[in-house]
Amino acid sequence: MLSLRLEEQISRLISVPGARRAACQLWKTASGPRSFATETAAAGSVNDSPKAIDPKVKVNKAMRAYLERAQAHNMFMKQQTSEFEIGRRHLANMMGEDPETFTQEDIDRSIQYLLPSNLFQRSSRPIMRPPEEVFPQQKEAQFGLDGRPFHPLFYTGKPNYYQILHDIRDWTLQLNVLEDERVRKGRAPPDKKLNLSGTQWMTKDELATLLVEKMTPHMYRRFILSMERLLLHPYVYRVEEFVRKYRKALIEEVIEIQAPALKKDEAGRSYTEAYANRKTCHAWVTLKDGTGKVDINGQDILFFPRASDRLQIMFPLQLLDRMFQFDISAKVEYGGYSGKSGAIREALTKCLTAFVSKEEVEILRHAGLLTHDKRVKERKKVGFRGARAKPTWRKR
């Protein structure tokens, strides 16, 4: 009875399009210079003719065990999927929506509404997702019916990873042969270069996901070292495709700074207004085309008794060499002098962005003037002299 069921399983496994192909696929894609024609062809042929399986064929013990495991996993997943489907429809009814058009987004929204959670860790909050996303993917069978593994480096335990190292060495040797040949013919070294700008190596986790293998930091270091060494070869442009497989495009960080709207007053002078805060201070600043007049809560720059605070306020204008071109009027509340000056500086910089070119805005950003300073005083702790300082300790 068991054997009958197993045979059924085997034929099903093999007739499922891509089941076995998927098992081979990874190391097929990972395989570099040489193609393992015999192995892949064998896998393909079984796929193409599912009836080719002979019921009398001997199945290796390892394969038998795998099939049983796979069967159990499939049953489990099937059950989970049906439960998820029931849950989804039930949730839709609870929310008074149409179960037919209830998408994953609706589920997330409903869960957030029904089970509100203020847990800081997002992964700790309640979720409801399809079982394929919740339960880890099982690796496909790595060996055939006779128990022979598909991958030549299977017994290393990390065949896909070591295949890459093997390929790197293989390419290096082949490029060396090419280089020797060119040198013998008296050719100059190539002027072609492999341009990898705008890309970076895959991270450890990305590589581990690609290879479906656990990756230790040591393994990742070895991979990067080997790859970097390959990149030093003068003929490396020949293996661009191989190198690019393990590189990812850098996502360019686009920072759009929203400048406040430029307005005109009755006299036709353009001005901007901005708000900023620092520590406990709030500052409202108006920057107007002018001659360098300063008005802070009705006083001039001497509102600040310390020179450092005055410098703080003037620094953005000084940096862009726009001193005495604007009139500043600020209303500032609460806090102390350094908080006030910091808040005014930030609001003033915001105002300034509306008057200056994009390049100058970049200068301001690089100087850190457009970054909000979120530092605040740390509270005093009980038993401590301050936030961290301990009282003097004496041996009794």
């Binding site: 495991r69 128990g147 030549p152």
Partner: protein, 284 residues
């Protein structure tokens, strides 16, 4: 006196090895000019040896002993046949000599269990008796062929950084398996845990070097002995042959020697597999 004795055995040795050239130090890979440069082709010392010895008998798969069940041949018992796969003609002692198989380590590092395979010492470098080596290598090749013929899994093991690539390539070329990296303890003795399920273990382990990266005996040798997997191993003068089922005394460091072993192992396995196909075709 000593010099005279050295000269004596040297001349004797050279006579045996069938060459007039003087003994050379350990070889290293040389980039030999290729006649037709080819991007895919890698230069190989062993290729050059083959090319040099064109006049000698170099056996190819087409020149194997006749297949079983032919009309004009009596059916033979494969296991009783002394050399069913023709491994005896796969190589000559001269080829081994040219690849530096005879070169051992310095005298002080000798493992006494290897004394029986040593021919002598030259400038304190130990020299293997290649006649003994050839005998052992042929035995090993015969066993390897029989295992391959029956669809066994051959696992090539080598922990030598310099030679690991060619070992892996050999395994790939003949459709077998290689393990040239860090050996996780329990790969053989606790395979179910290591591979996450019942796994078919290799049927024979072939060690191109029985040492690991810190010059101690490879753990896999002991593991294989525990789980009763036969082993074939190249044992140098500083190695212990006791736990190896089919030891082959010889140089396990020089790339030229490793290339030689890889070539004969690969050819033997490929021939045995081809033989299987031929025999099956004959039977059906």
């Amino acid at each position: 006196m000593l010099a005279r004795r050295t000269a004596q055995w040297l001349s004797q040795y050279l006579h045996r090895a069938g060459t007039t050239s003087t003994l050379q130090p350990r070889r290293h890979v040389q980039s030999l000019p290729l006649e037709q440069p080819n991007f895919r082709q890698s230069s190989s010392v062993f290729d050059s040896v083959i090319r040099e010895s064109k006049d000698q008998t170099v056996v190819r798969s087409s020149e194997l002993p006749p297949a079983i069940g032919r009309a004009d041949e009596p059916i033979v018992d494969i296991l009783k046949h002394p050399d069913y796969f023709g491994v005896k003609k796969l190589f000559t002692v001269k080829e081994m000599f040219q690849c530096g198989v005879h070169l051992g380590h310095m005298g002080g590092t000798l493992n006494e269990r290897m004394q029986q395979f040593i021919f002598g010492k030259r400038f304190n470098q130990l020299i293997f008796d290649l006649d003994i080596t050839a005998e052992y290598l042929r035995d090993a090749l015969n066993v390897l062929s029989h295992i391959s013929y029956r669809g066994g899994i051959v696992l090539f093991v080598c922990r030598d950084r310099q030679n690991c690539h060619i070992v892996e390539q050999t395994a790939i070329d003949c459709g077998e398996y290689a393990h040239t990296r860090y050996w996780t303890g329990g790969t053989l003795t606790d395979a179910t845990n290591i591979f996450g399920g019942a796994t078919r273990l290799p049927d024979v382990l072939v060690f191109l070097s029985t040492m690991n990266s810190i010059l101690e005996q490879h753990i896999a040798i002991e593991s294989a002995a525990i789980v009763n997997i036969p082993t074939v191993g190249i044992v140098d003068t500083n190695c212990n042959p006791n736990l190896i089922t089919y030891p082959v005394p010889g140089n396990d460091d020089s790339p030229s020697a490793i290339e030689f072993y890889c070539h004969v192992f690969k050819t033997a396995i490929q021939n045995a597999k081809q033989r299987r196909l031929d025999d099956d075709r004959m039977k059906s």
